[in-house]
Each structure stands twice: as structure tokens, then as C-alpha cells.
Amino acid sequence: MHHQRSREPLWWLPFSGGMMVDALAIPALVIVTGLLIPFALVNPESFRNLLIHPLVRAAVFVIAALSFFHAAHRLKFTLIDLGLKDAKIALGFICYGGAIVGTLLTAAIALGLM
């Protein structure tokens, strides 16, 4: 029987990238916005300037885009596992489509277009 290799690696690469980037960066960022800012250990004005800096914008774009694809991939498979396996293709469109839209919006924001 002839077997065709799946196209899944297309989505699996950003999924893995998101897994790694989320694991490395998210906890520290949550500490910054969740604890350091409220307890005045971060200067809000310098934080605002950081978010204008191109390198920081690029980093936020990468983190956000990969996080969106990571969550989309997991959400698709979780919904399939919860019994929606017949809707696999539709779920793919919705989940990855959402991640693509999120990524494009993030890019537009990072480039100052929005």
C-alpha cells in the first residue's frame, strides 16, 4: 500500500517554535506585567519606550505569532479529541486561520501601521 507523507510538519514547526519560545519567555514577561509593574519595580515610561523599540517589537511579534500558532494547533487537536474529528478540516481552517489573522494583525501593529 502506498503511503503519502503528511503535510502536518507545515503547522508543526511553528507549533514547536511556539512551545519553545513560550516556555522560555512567557513566565518572565508575566512577572514583568503582573508583578513588577504593579509593585513599581519597572518604570512605566521606560517600559513604554521599550515597546516602541524595533528590536523589542520584533521580539513581541515572534513571541505572539508563535504563541498563536502553538495554541491554534493544540486547540484543533483538543477539539478533535473531544469528539469533533469529522470536522478536522474545518477546524484546521478556523484555528490556523485565526493564528494567521492574529499574526498579520501583530505584524501590522509592530510595523506601526495600526
Binding site: L24, R48, S67, M114
Partner: protein, 133 residues
């Protein structure tokens, strides 16, 4: 090889429930692990909003004020819990995926996972340093 018709037996097909994941603690833990990705993506979306409002001093300041509320801190702590769960489960899995063979032996699990934890420490320190500058 003898050829004979397979016996016609009415086999029992056990049904699969949609609530299968509630049957074992390991399955529940799996579902929670999967759902952490949604919280993390939600937080990432929040960072994008922050980035979007960075040009508007007044809007940014009102977000900064909102971050000081107990609701915000609580939400952040929940996301932090999920993010830590994600990080730790992932780093602990890495030795089973990245198998490095040295002769007959493998590079120790602790070395592979340890390298990831070390990267995590460096990334955390860099982020905290840059943010508090």
C-alpha cells in the same frame, strides 16, 4: 496454509464517551496542559495590545493603571501558573525527544533537560534586566 472462513461472531464494540478524559487523572492533566496554550496565547495577545498602545501615552498609562488592580494581578498569577506548568512539562520531556547517543550510552536526561532549564534562566534574566533598566 489452510484456508477457512473466519468465524462470524458478533463482536462487542465498547463505546467511546466524549468524557473519556475525565476517566483518569493522567488524561485530565493532559487536557489542562493543552488548555494552558490558550491562556498563554491570550497573554501574548495582551502584549500585542500593549505594543499597539505604546504610541498613545494616555491609553498606555490607563493600561498601566489597570495592571495595578487586584483583578489584573490575580489573572497574571493564574497565567503564570499555567505558563510554569507548560515550561516545566516541556523541559522535562526534552530528553525523550532529543536523544544524543555517545557510543553505547546516551547523554544523561539531566544534561538535556538541564541545558533547557539553563536557557530558561538566561532568557528570564535577560527579560527582567531589560525590563527593569
Amino acid at each position: 496454509m489452510p484456508s477457512y472462513p473466519k468465524p462470524q461472531v458478533k463482536q462487542y464494540h465498547p463505546p467511546v464517551k466524549a468524557t473519556w478524559w475525565l476517566a483518569r487523572p493522567a488524561y485530565i492533566k493532559f487536557m489542562v496542559r493543552e488548555l494552558t496554550s490558550l491562556f498563554i496565547a491570550g497573554y501574548a495577545a495582551f502584549l500585542v495590545v500593549l505594543m499597539a498602545k505604546a504610541d498613545d501615552v494616555a491609553a498606555f498609562q490607563s493600561i498601566m493603571d489597570a495592571l495595578k488592580t487586584p483583578v489584573s494581578i490575580l489573572l497574571h498569577l493564574i497565567v503564570l501558573g499555567f505558563a510554569l506548568f507548560h515550561s516545566i512539562t516541556f523541559f522535562n520531556l526534552t530528553p525523550r525527544v532529543l536523544v544524543v547517543q555517545r557510543g553505547e550510552d546516551r547523554l544523561a536526561d539531566a544534561a538535556i533537560a538541564g541545558a533547557h532549564y539553563a536557557m530558561w534562566l538566561v532568557a528570564t534574566l535577560v527579560i527582567l534586566f531589560v525590563a527593569t533598566r
